[in-house]
Structures are given as structure tokens and as C-alpha cells.
Amino acid sequence: MAAFAAASGDELRKLAKASGLALDATPLRGPETGLVTVRGRIGGGGAPFNTGEATVTRATVQLPSGQVGHAYSLGRDREKVRLAATLDAVWCTPETRAAVEQKIVAPLVRMQAERDAKRHAETAATKVDFFTMVRGED
């Protein structure tokens, strides 16, 4: 579910289409957009406080087999979240779990890792290397 939430709508649609998985599902709830209140902690690790809100879209669907799937994601891309809920249901079905893992989850995790590594390398290039000059005799 975390990999689906982190993916862009386009990535998810592309992978789902290429996977050849049967993705027919009936909606049980949503997709609907609402708010979550985002919490931080005082001082970083102290008592919680409400920092602000964020848009979240959620959906629950059911496969013809009866298997139910849920999805939540930041933002307002309802089509993406509906698809994510369907994929969750397919993943929850033991016979198709491996296919979802291999064809959708693994590529998403890989793409996210690549994006993170690039961003990390860009940030690391701005790391300050101090040159210390020793003065005096001690």
C-alpha cells in the first residue's frame, strides 16, 4: 500500500496496464477526497501538535471473487486511488500476490529508490567540507 501511495498516477496506470492482471472491481466506498490533520512533535520528539491539514483520497473496492481492497494516498487523484485499491485487493488474493509484487510493487520500489538516491547525491554535493588551519604552537 505504501508503494502504491508513493507512486504517481501515471506510473501506477502504466504498470497496471502492462501487468496484464485482471483489474475489474466494484467500488464499495469512494474514491472520495478529504483531509487528514498532519501532526508533528514539539521539539521534534515531544508532545504531538497539529501542524496543518493535507488532502487525502481513499477508496475501497471489491473483486468479483469477493476480496476487498483499500487504498489511501495524499492528493486528489481519484483514478489512481481507485486503481491502488484494486491492486491491493489483487495483492490480498494469494494466487495473484506474487504477480503484483513482481510486476508492480518491485518496479515502484525501484523507481522510488532511484529518485531518492539521485536526490541524496544532489544534496550530498552541497555538503560543506571544512578545511581547518592550525595556528600557534599548541
Partner: protein, 367 residues
């Protein structure tokens, strides 16, 4: 006498049509797309998200276009939109220690674990206008340095190890986290509610107050312990699942301000802290927030309340720019009846004043 007046519908309709025209501007210039604003005016988008108190980059960009770049108007639009959506719940508190940092600097320790990462900063630029940007040339890709990610402990934890700084900011056990969007504010506030108000407060107002503390009005000897900007993951507990759902990541800016404190009868001398946490890349705002947070802790720390920045009711009641602009700007709406009453009153007072002067004049002449 009260005369009901109707009218202005056509004028209002036409004014809004004219507004739409002026917003679009010269039709021979291509219209802005939202992705252009999200990508190229990102810090303006972040400000609208932070003060609109709604994390959604595309919505903030839409608000900026609709408001013709008037950020307070855009913040107003975002706040109004918020009220139309149902609430799904409260996230688990973000863990900023695990942030994918894009910038992290400390003014207190040179060689801190994880290092000083400047990131995409305006610092050390010469503030010279760049005419090349006007011609829209290609921009080089950033440099890359492939290094193993290092842990980035908080500076406050480094000082905490020596016991020289106060804790992160506990509240009594059993305390229910305050929510100023749900319950009306009652002063004095707890620190959690105050931080919620500051996080959505007006950047300019908080900046001015923060500046006033540096200039001697509630001086608190601040050092930037640490600023970090980056993405953190959000998790939500939902009834239908027995594990927290990962919603995705948001970008936030965190500022840990470290301040001197001489101690009191109960507490030994130690560093105290102010905390800032805001949506997006909003470093100035996070710093100002942390300075205001520290100043507003005067009562808690037994300090004399002598300056505006320490006056909680003053600061928090005036920090919200949507409320402020609403009350200031309502003055331009028709007050014809109120004014008519005032005018009548001044006329009567003037008549009485003139009459009494005339009477005094007669008296003097008679004498």
C-alpha cells in the same frame, strides 16, 4: 429612518468579469499552467500551503493563479476550500529525525554527524539580478556526489546527551492534543495549540515579531541549533485496517532554535528551545516561528513579560492573515447606514457646540 437599498448586481457581475479578464491579461501571452507554477514558483506555492494550512501543491498553485499572485488572497481561497472537505483523522506524528533531508545546517556545531548540507539555498548568493533568466536559457543539471547516506541526529539530542538543554517539549500525561480548527481558542493556550496557530500564522507578522526579539524586545540569545528541509512520511490509523496506512510524503521545514536560560530556583542553568515546523520549504517562516515560540514561553519559564512578542493573546490573535485581512478589508464594504448615524451625531454635536459658543459670546458682550 432606515431605507433598504438594493442594487449593484449588474455592477458586481461585470466587475467579476473584468477581474477574470485582467487576471488573464494580454491574450497574446500564453496562459500559465499549474505545473509551471508548482515547478517554477515553488516557494510561493509553499507559502500558500503553509498559511492556508493545507498541503496540496496543485490546489495552492490554482489559488495563486486565481488570486492573480496575491498570496494572502490565495491563502484565503485555500482556507475556504478546506472547509468543504470531510476529515478522515489525525496522522501519526511525523518523525523529522528520519527525514530525507534536502538541506540541513547548524550554526552551533561545525562538524555534526551527517554534516552541513546547504541544499538549494539563496544563502551566499550575491543578490544580483540575473538577466539570463529573462531570456530563458538552459539550466545545467546539478552536481552529484555519491556517498552513503549518514544518520542525521538532531542537534538537540547532541546537547541533550550532556544534559545542558531542556527536553523536546513534553506536555502532562493525559493531555489531549489541542486543535484550534475544532475548538475556539481560549487564552492562555497550551504550547501545542500555540504551535498550531504559529505554523499557519502570517510569515511577515511572525518575522517582524521575531526580529523585535533580536533587537531587545524579549531578548532570548538565539542560535540556530539546526534547520532541516526534506520529505517525511505520513501514516494514518484507519478503522478498517490493523496497521497504520502510509499516505505518502510531504516536504516540511524544521527549525530548532537554541536559547540561553540562566536558570531559576527549580531549574539549573541550561539552554532552552524554540521550535518551528512548517509545510514546504519555508525557512524564514520556520525560524521566525521558533523565535516566537520561545518568546511566548516567557510565562512557563518565569520570565518577565515586557514585550509584544511575549504577549500570547496579542501574538496569536493577530497572527492569522485571513482573519486580519477579513477585518481590515471589510471596512471598504458599504457602511452607509452606520456612517449616516455618525454623521447625524456629529451634526447635532456641532450644533450644540456652536449654540453654546454663541451663548458665551452674548454673555461676554453683555458684560
Amino acid at each position: 429612518m432606515y431605507v433598504a437599498v438594493k442594487g449593484g448586481e449588474a455592477a458586481i457581475r461585470n466587475a467579476h468579469k473584468l477581474l477574470a479578464d485582467r487576471r488573464r491579461g494580454d491574450r497574446s501571452v500564453p496562459a500559465l499552467r499549474l505545473d509551471q507554477i508548482v515547478e517554477q514558483l515553488g516557494l510561493g506555492v509553499d507559502r500558500v500551503m503553509s498559511e492556508g494550512s493545507l498541503y496540496d501543491r496543485e490546489l495552492a498553485a490554482l489559488a495563486i493563479v486565481q488570486a492573480r499572485g496575491d498570496l494572502i488572497e490565495a491563502i484565503f481561497l485555500v482556507r475556504a476550500y478546506r472547509t468543504t472537505l470531510p476529515r478522515f483523522g489525525y496522522t501519526r506524528p511525523m518523525d523529522t529525525a528520519t527525514m530525507q533531508a534536502e538541506r540541513r545546517v547548524s550554526a552551533t556545531y561545525k562538524d555534526l554527524p551527517g554534516g552541513q548540507m546547504l541544499g538549494p539555498t539563496f544563502d551566499y548568493t550575491h543578490r544580483l539580478l540575473d538577466p539570463e533568466l529573462a531570456s530563458g536559457g538552459d539550466v545545467a543539471e546539478p552536481e552529484l556526489r555519491h556517498a552513503e547516506p549518514e544518520a542525521m541526529p538532531r542537534v538537540s539530542d547532541i546537547l541533550g546527551g550532556e544534559g545542558l538543554i531542556e527536553e523536546d517539549g513534553p506536555l502532562p500525561s493525559g493531555h489531549v492534543t489541542g486543535d484550534i480548527t475544532r475548538e475556539p481558542m481560549e487564552f492562555p493556550l497550551d504550547r501545542d495549540s500555540r504551535l498550531q496557530a504559529l505554523s499557519r500564522g502570517d510569515e511577515g507578522f511572525l518575522l517582524a515579531l521575531a526580529y523585535s526579539t533580536q533587537r531587545g524586545y524579549a531578548r532570548s540569545h538565539p542560535f540556530v541549533g539546526e534547520i532541516r528541509i526534506g520529505e517525511v512520511e505520513l501514516e494514518l490509523d484507519v478503522p478498517e485496517l490493523d496497521f497504520p496506512v502510509t499516505l505518502g510524503r510531504i516536504r516540511v521545514t524544521e527549525c530548532q532554535m537554541v536559547n540561553q536560560f540562566h536558570g531559576s530556583a527549580k531549574i539549573p542553568p541550561q539552554f532552552t528551545r524554540g521550535y518551528g515546523l512548517v509545510f514546504g520549504q519555508s525557512e524564514r517562516k520556520a525560524m521566525a516561528m521558533s523565535l516566537c515560540d520561545r518568546a511566548l514561553r516567557a510565562r512557563e519559564l518565569g520570565e518577565d513579560i515586557t514585550a509584544a512578542a511575549q504577549d500570547e493573546e496579542f501574538v496569536i490573535s493577530h497572527s492569522d492573515n485571513v482573519q486580519a485581512t477579513g477585518f481590515v478589508e471589510h471596512l471598504k464594504l458599504p457602511h452607509y447606514v452606520d456612517f449616516q448615524a455618525e454623521l447625524d451625531l456629529v451634526r447635532r454635536m456641532r450644533a450644540e457646540h456652536d449654540a453654546s459658543r454663541a451663548a458665551d459670546g452674548h454673555k461676554e458682550a453683555a458684560e
